[in-house]
């Protein structure tokens, strides 16, 4: 294939029945598709005869098959062909008569040409508009509607349904068409084929009526499309809001954890047992849990199954019947809670089972011929059940890969988690579980899973959480299907080394939010450790990006963005077809990135290139630029009786694609309605056949409420919920915002201009949201001047919460989750209480690094936190203390929390 520099722009140009190719450099092939552009290109271009797609005339008058596009597969004789070739475009019927732009010089002004432009435009529009051409059939009523250019366009995605592709060659066709055009014969033919032909008979009344209808239709369509576009924009920015807030939360969590990290890593091991030195302390504590579990019946801490328990009973090893019973129990509205003993049993069995698995699951479709991959579930049991319902329960014949993030956020994280583990136990070969970034107790502390477990199993929460943590640690990090497709939760980075990943000890990563603390102080050892940790971390946290290279993810505050080049290198290195990952919510439930849609393939082998014609190159580029599914396309071309030209270059295309077209990352997300009802679809992907061709299935768990909603209502609903979230964020920064506003308004008029308001909002929140569009939702505008009454930014909330005082509300919004997370971190044993010992550990830590506060004083503070003097600090007390402290230090920048009783109650 010609190198990029050599890539010529070709323009098909027709004059006197001959097609010449005008060559122009430095323009993308894609932009050529428009007639308008052709027009421009033709004008100023250097004309050269081009060898490949040239049409020659034969002596017998019929065109030679020099350009094989027109070669007939059906053996139709040149010159004899009637106009029977039909290609169907149901979505874009040729009644699509638009007023025509001035004709490019390469088309004459006859009617047939005019119509050809229409068809071509239509196709061009469709392609540009991203209409999915796969499976769409085209119908061209006349052969002369086809030009090489059309074929390129249509071939790029549409299915050619006829195998009677034009026979006369391009020039022949044109000549014939010209003849037809002149006579009535043509007109009749047209009518017969079409029913009517509006542009032919302007005088015809019926036609005029058609035309009017058509124009009315166009007008309505224009208005409607504009309406739709506005809805779409609303939907998009809503998405931005949710995502920004979500990632901002993750960032906070990480900062918090980094703070503790800093403390921990600087601390001498000998003095205090650090809460975070998981390697030593945690594992030992887990061992003790095991001990307790073994003789649990004696100490009675896990209640034995007694008469009071009406729920189901399960026995190990789990069978299909147990699984059905479990699903039934979980599905019920008023569910009978599974006995804690069984929960612990499942967890423990699962941990044993998982322990035997390698770091990367090896899945094979040898028996099943297909495999299903599901993305994040986030405690959405309904979505999981929908998947099972649609796709069947997992079994050896119907294997599943669940790609991490089973818990948090959703209400039924525990049920989802248990069900998946139960599936794993019942069908060891039918379920593959990958660890996600939420399979991590630090994340759970903030995002609700720990709270969920504590509410559901009040008395045994501590033990269950230990067990869950252990299961987390034994979860494999990824799955490789048939050695061809890698499935991991986050993605890869430029340093990801699968062999390393295969051999490391995954068990030691209790939480991935911090590099493990090594006991050895040798700098070299630490370095290796950090690198190893980064391997795992990137797999669980990365996101793809459209640009090349690898950059740290500043939005999430963790993980890496990896570019198409990284993907490409990685896939080539391990001879993989593509990469499936989850980790990001997508409106459609799935998304294909790095599908070389982003541009010309980068890694072309020059030796191969030389053998491939320029024409083929162009074709390939077109295919690639359209981002079509290649296997599908190949099959289509084959069965569609495509012109032999396609065959002749098919092999080169396939070859090229093998070299360059493998850059592919699929994101799959299985929690529907993730941000809010109607916000997104869920999806799973089935890899089918030996080629592991991905087939996506979308679904939405229907709640009675969403079924009837129209697009508009759905958008409205999601939007208002996003605005609510956003208001919370705004309120949390009230003081800073006000200060910022006042900067713009030194005279205190209460008004600033819109762009000042926008700048101020962005400056303070850094959420990257289209404030300008949101202005009506967030502030009051002065109708006459169009200025923003900036106090109204906080209106809604000051109205509703004035009684409690702004600082209380504000700090509550800001710190609730952070404080809770701090609490969970200090609470090493997840008991729900901070023991005196735990707190003095933390205090000692703080004392190390806050030398201005004497340690004794800190211990005093700890004591004073224990309000009911039972020797333990619970979350209420913790928050209450911070409120007291906050009242004493109003000016402290970090505020800390404060909460009247009703608020703390809500937290518990």
């Amino acid at each position: 294939m010609a190198d990029n520099e050599k890539r010529k722009r070709l323009v098909y140009r027709e004059r006197d029945g001959e097609v010449t190719v005008v060559e122009k450099t430095k323009k993308s092939f894609f932009s050529k598709l428009s007639p308008r552009n052709l027009f421009r290109s033709c004008k100023g271009s250097k004309k050269t005869e081009f060898s490949m797609p040239k049409v020659e005339r034969r002596d017998d008058g019929a065109a030679a098959e020099g350009i094989q596009i027109h070669a007939s597969k059906s053996g139709r004789q040149p010159g004899k062909g009637g106009f029977q070739t039909r290609y169907i475009i149901p979505r874009l019927p040729h009644s699509c008569y638009m007023p025509c732009p001035p004709h490019p010089p390469w088309l004459d002004h006859s009617n047939y040409t005019w119509r050809r432009v229409q068809v071509m435009k239509t196709v061009g529009i469709a392609i540009r508009y991203g209409l999915d051409f796969r499976g769409v059939e085209f119908e061209f009523l006349q052969e002369q509607d086809i030009s090489p250019l059309h074929l390129v366009q249509i071939g790029s995605g549409g299915q050619l349904t006829s195998n009677k592709m034009g026979s006369g060659g391009y020039s022949g066709m044109k000549r014939k068409a010209d003849n037809y055009c002149r006579g009535q014969q043509y007109r009749q033919k047209q009518k017969k084929l079409r029913g009517f032909s509006p542009q032919m008979n302007y005088t015809d009344r019926a036609t005029a009526a058609c035309r009017r209808t058509m124009k009315a239709a166009i007008l309505i369509q224009r208005w409607y499309r504009r309406y739709l576009a506005r809805m779409e924009v609303r939907r998009r920015y809503t998405w931005t809001i949710f995502q920004s807030i979500e990632y901002a939360g993750e960032q906070d969590q990480l900062k918090l954890y980094n703070f503790f990290n800093a403390l921990l890593t600087h601390m001498p091991d000998a003095t205090v047992k650090p809460p975070g030195s998981e390697i030593s302390s945690k594992s030992s504590s887990i061992d003790t849990v095991d001990q307790k579990y073994e003789d649990e019946s004696e100490d009675g801490s896990l209640q034995s199954v007694d008469g009071g328990y009406k729920g189901i009973h399960i026995s190990f090893p789990l069978t299909r019947d147990d699984l059905d019973a479990l699903i039934d129990t979980f599905r019920k509205k008023k569910q009978q809670r599974l006995h804690a003993k069984y929960v612990a049993g499942i967890l423990k069995e699962a941990a044993l089972q998982l322990k035997r698995l390698p770091n990367l699951n090896q899945a094979s479709t040898a028996i099943s011929k297909q495999i299903t991959i599901c993305g994040d579930l986030h405690g959405k049991l309904d979505d999981l059940l929908v998947i099972f319902h649609k796709n069947g329960l997992p079994s050896t014949e119907n294997p599943y890969v669940f790609n991490g993030d089973f818990v948090d956020r959703g209400k039924k994280g525990l049920e989802v988690f248990l069900l998946l583990l139960a599936c794993l136990l019942a069908f060891p070969g039918g379920v593959f579980l990958n660890r996600g970034n939420h399979e991590d107790h630090i994340m759970n502390a903030r995002y609700g899973f720990i709270r969920e477990v504590k509410t559901k199993y009040k008395h045994n929460a501590e033990r269950l959480l230990r067990l869950i943590e252990r299961v987390y640690r034994w979860l494999p990090l990824g799955t490789v299907v048939n050695n061809k497709v890698l499935v991991v939760h986050g993605g890869i980075s430029d340093i990801t080394d699968l062999d390393w990943v295969r051999n490391l000890d995954r068990h030691k990563y209790v939480s991935l939010l911090r590099p493990p603390v090594t006991e050895s102080s040798a700098p070299g050892a630490e370095l290796i450790d950090k690198l190893e940790w980064k391997q795992v971390f990137d797999i669980l946290w990365s996101d793809p990006q459209p640009g090349d290279g690898c950059i740290p993810n500043s939005l999430r505050g963790a993980g890496t963005y990896f570019g198409p080049d990284v993907t490409d290198k990685f896939l080539q290195k391990y001879k993989l077809l593509y990469l499936i990952r989850s980790h990001e919510c997508k409106p459609e439930g799935y998304e294909i990135t790095h599908s070389s849609k982003s541009g010309v393939p980068t890694s072309k082998n020059p030796e191969d290139s030389s053998q491939v014609s320029v024409e083929a190159t162009e074709w390939v580029l077109l295919y690639l630029s359209l981002g079509h599914d290649r296997t599908l396309l190949t099959a289509r071309l084959k069965c569609a009786g495509a012109p032999s030209c396609m065959y002749s270059i098919l092999s080169s295309i396939t070859h090229l694609l093998n070299v360059s077209g493998r850059m592919l990352v699929i994101t799959i997300f299985s929690a529907s309605n993730y941000y809010e009802v109607g916000s997104n679809k869920g999806a799973y992907v089935k890899l089918v056949g030996p080629q592991l061709a991905p087939h996506f299935v979308q679904f939405t768990t229907a709640t009675p409420r969403t079924k009837k909603l129209t697009f508009r209502q759905r958008v409205g609903l999601v939007e208002s919920s996003a605005i609510r979230e956003l208001s919370g964020q705004i309120l949390a920064r009230r003081d800073q915002l006000l200060e910022e506003f006042l900067k713009y308004d030194p005279e205190q008029t209460g008004m600033i201009s819109l762009s000042q308001w926008c700048t101020a909002m962005e400056e303070q929140t850094r959420l990257g949201i289209p404030w300008r569009m949101l202005r009506e939702k967030l502030v009051t505008l002065d109708p006459s001047t169009g200025k923003v009454e900036y106090y109204s930014t906080f209106q809604e909330h000051t109205n509703s919460r004035r009684l409690s005082g702004t600082t209380v509300v504000e700090t509550l919004y800001r710190n609730k989750s952070s404080l809770e997370a701090i609490f969970r971190i200090i609470d090493k044993d997840n008991s729900g209480y901070i023991s005196m010992e735990e707190f003095s550990d933390a205090c000692a830590l703080l004392g190390e690094h806050l030398p201005q506060i004497p340690p004794e004083q800190l211990v005093d503070i700890c004591r004073s936190m224990d309000i009911n003097k039972d020797g333990l600090v619970d979350l209420n007390e913790f928050l209450e203390t911070f409120r007291l402290v906050d009242m004493g230090h109003e000016d402290r920048p970090d505020g800390d929390d404060s909460s009247p009783d009703e608020d703390t109650n809500r937290l518990e």
Binding site: A217, Q221, R236, R712
Partner: protein, 198 residues
């Protein structure tokens, strides 16, 4: 329809795209620097409110924060700015704004330049609501005051720049009167109406 058909749809005229002579940069590489300077002035210099609005609409679709959007989004962006172009007109704009190096994407500076020009010249402005009403009246040949679902679907799917099934479903979902199953278009027009912000 009383007015000439062309008036209703808006003439498809050549000057929909800026004539090449008007472009601040030419087609040739020698003008490239000039263009870059120009765009730098625009982006770095003072931005009008219109420019800011365009940028903001653009950024909503700029998923990678790379100052580019996919060509497929361009129609939505332009429409969300209050313009009312036909698909064909969008196509023409695309030709003008598309990035030549990385086909399939559109760069902000170029987009801003052309689209602000279009909006300032008040091209692609929606026809008046009366015209829209007239269009419905044309379809309502018997003057019943409503259209049946089947008829409107047929027209929308087969005439003009046909809807996709998704578009049609959405439209019907919102347009149909729950009681009669018909489309009382005079009410429906109100929904399509958006306060002009330009």
């Amino acid at each position: 329809m009383g007015s000439s058909p062309d008036e209703v749809i808006g003439l498809f005229s050549v000057d929909l795209i800026l004539p090449a002579a008007l472009w601040p940069w030419g087609d040739s590489a020698s003008n490239r620097n000039e263009y870059q300077e120009y765009s730098w002035n625009i982006l770095g210099g003072t931005l009008s409110d219109l420019d800011k609005r365009i940028i903001e609409a653009f950024v909503v679709f700029d998923h990678a924060s790379s100052n580019t959007v996919d060509v497929r989004e361009v129609g939505t962006i332009i429409r969300s700015l209050g313009c009312c172009p036909s698909e064909a007109e969008i196509q023409e704009i695309l030709v003008a704004v598309e990035d030549e190096e990385t086909s399939g994407s559109v760069r902000l500076d170029r987009f801003l330049l052309i689209v602000s020009h279009i909006i300032q010249e008040r091209r692609l402005q929606p026809a008046s609501p009366e015209k829209l009403l007239k269009a419905f009246l044309t379809l309502d040949r018997d003057g019943k005051g409503y259209l049946t679902k089947e008829f409107l679907s047929k027209i929308m799917m087969e005439e003009g720049e046909p809807f996709t099934h998704e578009e049609l479903d959405e439209m019907m979902g919102a347009a149909i009167d729950g009681e009669t199953g018909n489309i009382p278009y005079e009410y429906y027009i109100n929904q399509l109406m958006v306060r002009s912000e330009l």
